[in-house]
């Protein structure tokens, strides 16, 4: 089936999968956002325990999606993997630290004799939620604004050092934080994660005080989210960008690249606008109608927005990872993907994704029919 597709089609197909994974990853960051709100929304042990247990039943999805996102990037676009991870060392390592400390915190925080104490694990959760989301936003922003690297395949055969991808900033990724445009997206993602978390609490926890407090904080978090996101979007739509000319095999700079891209790919523009609308609608019905369904609208909206942004990064021969120091080193689908054979093989495995989604939906429906309540926690069982 996939053998009949061209190499370029497979490259686009795999970027589509990366975009879907990226979109779900950003949506699932509501777990991280919730971790920054445990003591804001929860005012006593019971409320905090409800929040932690509500989030704790979802943390593995975010974690797994991050791991699969990384694995899929490695497999389909290994040059990105070797260039960005090997170069922006400190940025990625800090993000990884944030996720390592999360993985044990749920399981260990309330266990007796846990050595570091409950507070330490809650601090770990906060760091993961605050720094993790902000830095992920900054890292993703560099896909738009560019990074400091060069790529030269000949280096492996060179006698003067043989490393193919080289980073030109001695800050190894941390320089991204000094770019205000990246910070805009970092802050947008941080406040988005908190906004989604509040919508999730309203839907998932059966507790009036948590519900009311969530509405109040929804206003406080959704406003900065919208401001930072719109500012970033405005910057992106008006900035020049790099594009690959497949005829001359050269990368060149195009003014208003993303604006033009959305004009030329109107379906993505519609998806983006629909996503923005759904996100705002979900927030609005939660605030004004006290609806518990906001997470479904806003969650779907976020998935659509992030999907559209990821897609526009690389489709239409756009350079999805521009180099600031050597345009011809910039990464696009044509120069950074795995081989035709590997993409074909992996495409067969990608057909499992709908089945994965189906069993995830089935399993969660089975155990999530009822909202989480303090009564359920009192009944015992596995409690975080």
């Amino acid at each position: 089936m996939f053998e009949t597709l061209s190499y370029a089609t497979l490259q686009h197909y795999w970027w589509f999968i990366i975009s879907v994974l990226g979109a779900f990853l950003v949506f699932l960051l509501f777990v991280q956002g919730g971790q920054t709100l445990i003591y804001v929304i929860g005012k006593n042990d019971t409320e905090q325990s409800l929040i932690v247990n509500s989030l704790g039943r979802k943390w593995e999805f975010t974690f797994t999606t991050l791991v699969v996102f990384g694995g899929a990037l490695f497999a389909s676009f290994p040059l990105f993997y070797s260039t960005s991870f090997g170069g922006a060392y400190w940025l990625w390592m800090t993000i990884l630290f944030c996720f390592v400390i999360q993985a044990v915190s749920y399981e260990y925080r309330s266990k007796p004799n846990n050595f570091l104490g409950k507070k330490t694990f809650d601090v770990f959760l906060f760091i993961n939620g605050a720094l993790g989301t902000f830095l992920l936003g900054v890292a993703v922003a560099t896909f738009f604004t560019g990074a400091n690297f060069t790529v030269n395949f000949s280096n492996i055969a060179s006698q003067q050092g043989n490393i193919i991808s080289q980073w030109t900033s001695s800050w190894h990724g941390l320089e991204a934080i000094a770019d205000w445009r990246n910070v805009l997206l970092g802050l947008a993602v941080f406040f988005l994660a908190r906004t989604l978390a509040l919508l999730y609490f309203m839907n998932n926890i059966d507790h009036p005080e948590i519900f009311n407090r969530s509405i109040r904080h929804l206003i406080l978090n959704s406003i900065p989210f919208v401001v930072f996101f719109v500012a970033f979007l405005a910057v992106v739509l008006t900035m020049p960008g790099q594009r690959y000319d497949s005829v001359n095999q050269l990368v060149y700079v195009e003014s208003l690249k993303f604006w033009r891209s959305f004009i030329e790919l109107p379906l993505l523009a519609i998806i983006l606008l629909a996503g923005v609308g759904l996100t705002l609608f979900g927030i609005a019905i939660s605030i004004f109608r006290r609806s518990t369904k906001g997470i479904w609208y806003s969650g779907s909206g976020v998935i659509l927005v992030v999907f559209a942004l990821f897609m526009v990064l690389a489709y239409r021969d756009n350079c999805y990872y521009p180099s600031k120091v050597d345009f011809q080193s910039s990464l696009h689908l044509g120069n950074s993907s795995s081989s035709y054979f590997t993409l074909t093989v992996m495409s067969y495995f990608s057909t499992l994704v709908p089945f994965v989604a189906a069993y995830m939906f089935w399993a969660w429906r089975a155990i999530n029919r009822k909202k989480l309540s303090d009564k359920e926690l009192e009944e015992g069982g596995h409690v975080y």
Binding site: R57, E60, F63, T64, L66, V67, V68, G71, A72, F74, A75, P78, Y81, S82, F85, G86, G87, Y89, W92, M93, L96, V100, A103, V104, E107, Y108, K111, P112, N113, N114, F115, S154, I156, A157, Q159, Q160, G161, N162, I163, I164, S165, W167, H172, S338, S339, F341, T342, M346, F349, S350, L352, V353, V356, Y359, M360, A363, W364, A366, I367, H382
Partner: protein, 519 residues
């Protein structure tokens, strides 16, 4: 060749990978084995309706959960470290190596993370049968995940199913089944997961012994012992048989590692197997690369030849032959391998120069040479040797490899005896009185961890200097970062993981002391 290689960076990067991998492997085997033991127990509960089996299932499941979380935490670093610290490697072989990692995510991780939630939170929310299915799916998910990462590791030890593309300067997959079903991959998967089964069995046996020693929940933990001993005996016997196959594969595909495992410096026809030996600080022979002398050896005549090649008189090459070559036995000397690898590398440089200078004729000629399978097999297959400057670079650390191998094998046999004794005492209904045995079982808990880590040391230290056997050494695989950066992250990982390990052990001990909860 006059490369600028920061060996400090290489060694720190290796140390970081070794540290994170060894920490990760402290937790994964228990997950692999305990998931099945829990599934067996829950199956008996569903079949018999006996609530005691449910209590036991829940008890071991709690310990599983504590261990699982830290396994996940330490695992994420490994995946991303291929990019952060081994950038050249990631491009040079990412076309092949990345695929199993992605497939692992799609096929296994989501399965695990979805059904582990049902396993922990679904007791009163889903039917017994659905819950049991979830427990089994967690067990299969964990082990399928191990399959793919072990396929990837096996490929590094025995590269198969690929060719080199000079344009992209990387190896590319041409046959997926050769990668998935290479003899090394199948053997490695079976050997590694079964080591996890043995480890979990010893863990359950030892903790059950503690309860029997304290006369707590005796009937319950005798049942646990029975399940663990049967599972442990079957898998520990299997691992010995499988280990024999593993040694044969190493002898064939990684002869230098095999020689280091047995400290075989000079080849022998009818080679003896060293069952025991002490690696001393004295040099064996100054003409033999200053290799350390092995003293007080206990040897079985001709057994090494028999085990490696099924022929007691067959010749096993030693380190000397693997470096100086042996024309009679078609063993290429190191110098010749370096010559061939260097030629391949120079041609690659010439090809890239021709392309850059738009010298199409030269480019096409060189490309034609590279695409010729004979060139790939006879020259490019030695590409990694073009980075070698000194014979010492291709000799693995002898004492580490030698001791690790012997410790692993020795403990492997010990576990068989341990499980036979446990079953004997259980069936003769005398286990309560066998205090010494119960103490032995309890004190044996660390041993499979030692055996398991030793096994990975043999596999990874034994193949040095290669990240990809013969194709790429560690010092050509790295990222261009400051070694001080890697030192900082290494120490941060060391502190963090050690803290988490202490937390895990303390929580585990507390949970064990609390025992199974009442209904």
């Amino acid at each position: 060749m006059n490369e600028i290689v920061d060996m400090g960076l290489v060694n720190w990067s290796r140390a970081q990978f070794a540290l994170t991998a060894m920490y990760h492997w402290l937790f994964v085997p228990l997950t692999l084995g305990l998931s099945f033991i829990v599934a067996f127990m829950e199956s008996i509960y569903v079949k018999t309706g006996n609530e005691e089996w449910k209590r036991m299932t829940k008890f071991w499941m709690t310990l599983f959960g504590i261990n699982f979380a830290i396994g996940v935490a330490t695992g994420i670093i490994l995946e991303f470290q291929f990019g952060t610290n081994w950038s050249n490697y990631s491009w040079f072989v990412g076309d092949i190596f990345g695929a199993p990692l992605a497939i692992e995510g799609i096929m296994a991780f989501f399965l695990e993370s979805t059904f582990i939630a049902v396993m922990f939170f679904g007791w009163n929310k889903v039917s017994k049968e659905f819950h049991l299915l979830s427990t089994w799916l967690v067990a299969f998910g964990s082990n399928i995940s191990a399959l793919w990462i072990l396929v990837a590791n096996a490929w590094m030890q025995y590269p198969a199913g690929m060719h080199f593309n000079p344009d992209t300067a990387r190896n590319e997959m041409i046959n997926f089944w050769d990668v998935l079903f290479s003899p090394v991959a199948i053997n490695k998967f079976l050997h590694t997961v079964s080591s996890g089964f043995v480890l979990a069995s010893v863990f359950v046996l030892g903790i059950s012994a503690w309860f029997l020693l304290h006369k707590r929940e005796v009937a319950l933990f005798k049942k646990s012992m029975l399940v663990a001993s049967i599972f442990g005996l079957v898998t520990s016997i299997f691992i010995i048989i499988n280990g024999d196959s593993s040694a044969k594969l190493i002898a064939r595909y990684q002869p230098m590692k095999f020689a280091a495992m047995e400290a075989l410096y000079e080849g022998q026809s009818g080679a003896d197997l060293k069952v025991f030996g002490i690696v001393s600080t004295e040099k064996h022979d100054s003409s033999l690369f200053n290799l350390p002398k092995v003293k007080y050896t206990v040897e079985i005549p001709k057994a090494l030849s028999l085990l490696a090649l099924n022929n007691a008189n067959s010749f096993i090459p030693g380190i000397k032959e693997l470096i100086h070559g042996d024309s009679v036995r078609n063993i290429l000397p190191l110098q010749e391998k370096i010559r061939r690898g260097t030629l391949a590398r120079e041609k690659l440089a010439a090809l890239h120069n021709a392309r850059a200078n738009k010298d199409t004729a030269t480019y096409l000629t060189l490309k034609g040479e590279f695409m010729d399978p004979a060139f790939q097999k006879n020259y490019f297959a030695y590409f990694g040797y073009s980075f070698i400057k000194d014979p010492h670079q291709i000799i693995p650390h002898i004492s580490l490899t030698f001791y690790s191998f012997h410790i692993m094998v020795g403990l492997g046999f010990f576990f068989v005896i341990l499980f036979i004794l446990a079953l004997w005492y259980l069936f003769s209904q005398t286990i309560d009185q066998k205090k010494k045995f119960l103490w032995l079982a309890l004190l044996s808990i660390p041993l499979p961890y030692i055996a398991s880590e030793a096994g990975w040391i043999v596999a990874e230290v034994g193949r040095q200097p290669w990240t990809i056997q013969d194709y790429l050494p560690t010092f050509a695989s790295i990222s261009k970062i400051d070694s001080s950066s890697v030192q900082i992250t290494l120490f941060l990982f060391a502190i963090l993981f050690t803290g988490l390990l202490i937390a895990e052990i303390k929580i585990m001990i507390k949970q064990i002391k609390m025992g199974p909860k009442d209904h």
